[in-house]
Symmetry: D2
Subunit: 411 residues, 4 copies
Amino acid sequence: MHFDYSDKVKHYQKRLTQFMDDYIYPNEQTYVNEINKENPFSETPPIMEELKQKAKEAGLWNLFLPESEYGAGLTNLEYAPLCEIMGRSSMAPEVFNCAAPDTGNMEVLVRYGTEEQKKLWLEPLLHGDIRSCFSMTEPDVASSDATNIRASITRDGDEYVINGTKWWSSGAGDPRCKIAIVMGKNDEHAEKHKQQSMILVPLETPGVTIKRMLPVFGYDHAPHGHGEIVYNNVRVPAGNMLLGEGRGFEIAQGRLGPGRIHHCMRTIGAAERALQILCERVTNREAFGKKLAEQGVIQEWIADARIDIEQARLLTLKAAYMMDTVGNKEAKAEIAMIKVVAPNMALRIIDHAIQALGAAGVSDDFPLASSWANIRTLRLADGPDEVHRRAIAKYELQKYRKHWREKEHAR
Amino acid sequence: MHFDYSDKVKHYQKRLTQFMDDYIYPNEQTYVNEINKENPFSETPPIMEELKQKAKEAGLWNLFLPESEYGAGLTNLEYAPLCEIMGRSSMAPEVFNCAAPDTGNMEVLVRYGTEEQKKLWLEPLLHGDIRSCFSMTEPDVASSDATNIRASITRDGDEYVINGTKWWSSGAGDPRCKIAIVMGKNDEHAEKHKQQSMILVPLETPGVTIKRMLPVFGYDHAPHGHGEIVYNNVRVPAGNMLLGEGRGFEIAQGRLGPGRIHHCMRTIGAAERALQILCERVTNREAFGKKLAEQGVIQEWIADARIDIEQARLLTLKAAYMMDTVGNKEAKAEIAMIKVVAPNMALRIIDHAIQALGAAGVSDDFPLASSWANIRTLRLADGPDEVHRRAIAKYELQKYRKHWREKEHAR
Amino acid sequence: MHFDYSDKVKHYQKRLTQFMDDYIYPNEQTYVNEINKENPFSETPPIMEELKQKAKEAGLWNLFLPESEYGAGLTNLEYAPLCEIMGRSSMAPEVFNCAAPDTGNMEVLVRYGTEEQKKLWLEPLLHGDIRSCFSMTEPDVASSDATNIRASITRDGDEYVINGTKWWSSGAGDPRCKIAIVMGKNDEHAEKHKQQSMILVPLETPGVTIKRMLPVFGYDHAPHGHGEIVYNNVRVPAGNMLLGEGRGFEIAQGRLGPGRIHHCMRTIGAAERALQILCERVTNREAFGKKLAEQGVIQEWIADARIDIEQARLLTLKAAYMMDTVGNKEAKAEIAMIKVVAPNMALRIIDHAIQALGAAGVSDDFPLASSWANIRTLRLADGPDEVHRRAIAKYELQKYRKHWREKEHAR
Amino acid sequence: MHFDYSDKVKHYQKRLTQFMDDYIYPNEQTYVNEINKENPFSETPPIMEELKQKAKEAGLWNLFLPESEYGAGLTNLEYAPLCEIMGRSSMAPEVFNCAAPDTGNMEVLVRYGTEEQKKLWLEPLLHGDIRSCFSMTEPDVASSDATNIRASITRDGDEYVINGTKWWSSGAGDPRCKIAIVMGKNDEHAEKHKQQSMILVPLETPGVTIKRMLPVFGYDHAPHGHGEIVYNNVRVPAGNMLLGEGRGFEIAQGRLGPGRIHHCMRTIGAAERALQILCERVTNREAFGKKLAEQGVIQEWIADARIDIEQARLLTLKAAYMMDTVGNKEAKAEIAMIKVVAPNMALRIIDHAIQALGAAGVSDDFPLASSWANIRTLRLADGPDEVHRRAIAKYELQKYRKHWREKEHAR
């Protein structure tokens, strides 16, 4: 057991931090300003493509992909601390082509895609030429239980026909978003976890309608956005099926692990940034005759923030380590734990930072309110906290049951 | 001691609830739809004026004003439960001419205004013809300590000259907003709590510029909004001074008490509505083979919500009772307590409701996310929780010190 | 609605407070010292009987009993604030003959006892000549669900035969404890809530064995104590049955309401005392160059304590008011709420007081640690918090269902 | 960075766990039974010496000592997980000669003791022949600020004269306790952190009086116990001074680091045991028609317990790693963090376990209540949480200030 980052990681951390200082933080406001106010989902701020170019040149591109054929060849444990740095700015992950849901979608294509699927969709995604979305959650059922999903994917000759309504298809608002991975039922009579499939649906296919973009606590998250998409008799070639009929859950499982590490590490980065903003502010403001930084209550917030960040980071890194060494399945408890821990931790810290900043904190003069809203959704995305806690408890109780069985056998 | 509402209150509760059912809830979406998307601060949704007319006709108008000459003659204790009902919908208070900051401004004018000031500003406000704002908080200082306020109000012949930048002047975005009460320093050399004055500034006065409207967690709160206003050599007649030079703190104190009761009761109404939405949802959704309402964790949320609401309401009603019977000053501890209790309580409940609703909860399909954002600002407005807790502790510790003194005298 | 205590209540409060100052606080250490260290359950500290005599003379005796024939004729709302004062010292309730479980047992006898039962047991209890215990909880089942209770009460001719093991029969250690009310099953085939009966069992009956006294966080609570009692073929006359076979639940319900008010108000008294100890200490101790009372974190504890106490007291008083006006059944939600609120609130405050006092707080130099341990058991006694929260949620959800039904009927 | 225990550690874990299963758990009740009920501090339960002999034979002795001359030569990181296992039972650490305060005192002697001091006190301690105590905390001052300590150590010829009253001198009750390390002021005029010294005081020296043993939440912790010791003109040879006059703080600092790791890891062990007891119980008890283990609320407790334990353990192991690699001083923030995290985490878990067990949980039938009381003191010992949080905040704010300075220099 040891707790130092490898030299390779330290090297990347240094370069990434430098890039953030040089290009990201100074351009956060530019990015916001360049969003089309009249029609926010019509175009991407030009600064984004500029910065992507710079990131490519700097060799800070597609770092998320473990496979060396396409990516930087970093393990989860190596990529995690880099992902944290990117998480400090909400615009950063896209700059490095490391933004959700593209990362998850690329991983799916790398792992399960046919050569044709890779050529058509993986390559432009890897180049940052197009973006993608993931269409799973539905408005009419509790999607926390994925077996509830009702959209249908029906074979009809050489094609599949897709019908259903999805929402929270994040990224669907982006004019560059070309492809969706859609989850749906293709066999109601199969056993419960073999009913669902995943299929590639180009967004320009007839029958695909983005009904509306959903706001998150008042934010539209343009041009990325969160779409409600109606799939009405949408026909795609049979070759668009991913991995095979009834294997939707299997893909979802494989997709989830790294995605959760990414989300958690970005969340930790956002928490670190909030803590930094808080610390900077309280050393500069005075009330009732002393610096806010000297107020015991604020010191307590700072201490708890530091404690909570350190713990969440270690647990996330351990989960990444386990994924690398013993695999997603063995790491399932740890992955569920960080899914609960990281967003709740970050929300507390950001909330304290908002409280320390006063009214400025709820405005857009600081990235706190928007970060809070973003991260609040993570307590729901991929299942609410409560579902993950239930799973963790189940694993824990199994352990004891196993222990008892062993004891009984030993007698 | 007894805990039943009077017949008068029950009568109003019934009528108000009926009005909410008949006109408010069915028009919430209309109101949102009628906001000018291109230029949100340019006009008021027509439905608002329609409903105001209906409320006037129904005799549900200006209920907040205790003085019978202008208002309904309700005590704080009588008005509080009505205010709670209005708080269930963010559009409701304005319909009944009971919206902040107009209510506080009207109270100030009733209590401290000259005949001329009343005629010019109070009357149109009472008729709902114009709206008003309150310009106190400043961007560059910790306004939680009001002695930090720096804007200047300088006498120059028959006029006062106002200079300074204010933000979070709520309501300033509304095209009907005509008048601001501005707080600023008129004598730096006076004793600490006599340096500040309040003065009436028509928004059309030369030198008044609304620099921008501030968002709250992504919401613009149009057409009401929160303005950053620059006052640059703004000249108003000397008669616009309220109560007298150096009496700003005095007015602020008088203004605060009822305002806090209103805010807290509205907040309790919002919490009740969130709990209702949660309960309705969980009895209709199923996951993992049973209704969400049968999940123990969700039952715990519901129980804690009911407990917290009941307690917060009782404390707020007691504070209102004390204001009516022994006055604001004697009730200062209770007023500080509800200021801390109500928003925190409501935020917990709304957050749980959001969690129970899943992604729908963070969108605008339900009033949860917007309500959360609104109420989050109440933990900062009129001083952050921490300042109020400090005051409560001070009152508590004084009590003991007094007790000791009495004991010593008795020896 | 109004929030002042009646003159009658104020009068009693004043006299009771005076008695506490004169006789209780100065004798708390005496009481502890007089407990027999060798054999703690062998005798009662003489000071107790002395003080009981004084309380009788002062007319502060049996205040808990609403019925005027025996008691002071106080309503629940009138008695509650007096109960709070008694709760400030763990030895006080007995001094005023207002200690559990005697109060609950006396109420049962007043309400359901035959003339003979009253003469034999109620009268000596009302005079403070004997004490009593309540034998319900069992070691081998989750007693939070009272239908689990297994002890048997079987009719055999003119007698009932009782078999079973009970624990946490509080008060059983006291040499003056003469009578137990025992709950057990007399008919396994009756409907679920009609299987249980309550019966009077003199502790000297053959077959009754106090197996051991149970400690609570290391405290033996001598001479009162908590007994594990084995009932082995214990025979009592048929006339000892309370109210009738199968009516155990009915009695339990009637017994619970006032008992919960008492427990909660005493708990609030204990919380007030802890807050007082905290405030006194922090104004006298210094660390890192300033009084502890000036530390922001400690001020936050004080503020939250004051807020929580005020809220819990109001809710408890409202529950008492409802019991007086609309009855236990209508007040069931409020009674469940205070059962959850009061102990949790008090534990937080006492824990903070301990923290503020440092090591002294966990010792017996202050009544904090013992009070914490006492009150910790209240989160379990008469059902754990979780069972009560479940009930509150059920009542809340029923309300909505009822509301929907009414809406549907209206169509 | 990697997260697996070394083979050496795994080997020890296995042997230690076996020893716990074979000898500790089966003898916990024996130990309690063998405590002299009449005079609890008069003798040690014979089982303890038996088990110590077995542990010696098994080579599980003095594992805590990093120095290979005396100890097992384990680093802090290697010893930590073993310490966790010992922490599962309150009687275990002494069995392995790894109990506080002896471990801290032995470390002090190893590091700072003269040859004579080592021969006289270290050797018998290492053999487990005697025990020791640490006399620092004082009743009359806030010892959280160690500069408040008032006991005096005055040179007089070849002797030092010690005067003062100490309390919470843990272990002083044990008849085998022979030596105290006493902290006191020897120079009031020196700079603040050079006023205090530490000196060796044999408990049999004239003038040393154990005034009383202090209870912890009703527990006497016999025969170990917590003494209030009066030092009245106690004279010891000048050679008993440790390290030199005025170096008390220096020793305290060196002593603290490993001690905190030990306390935290034992606390984590206690939390694991509580979670095990909870899990075992809830899979065996039923209420309201289902196993407690199926109740969502209890599942949430289990999940949060697992999450919190994992995080606390990782942070503690990282602190141990840092102590081994970069030293106590660099690890000071992490050491302060675990001091706050571990006890609070364990208290939550134990409290939930108590709640799940019902009344059994507060009794001594399970090690929960006693464990809770033990660990509650750790939130106070060596400084309350609040002091450590303050320190953590200070380190955090310094980091930012340093950061700014570097930025400024770079310009």
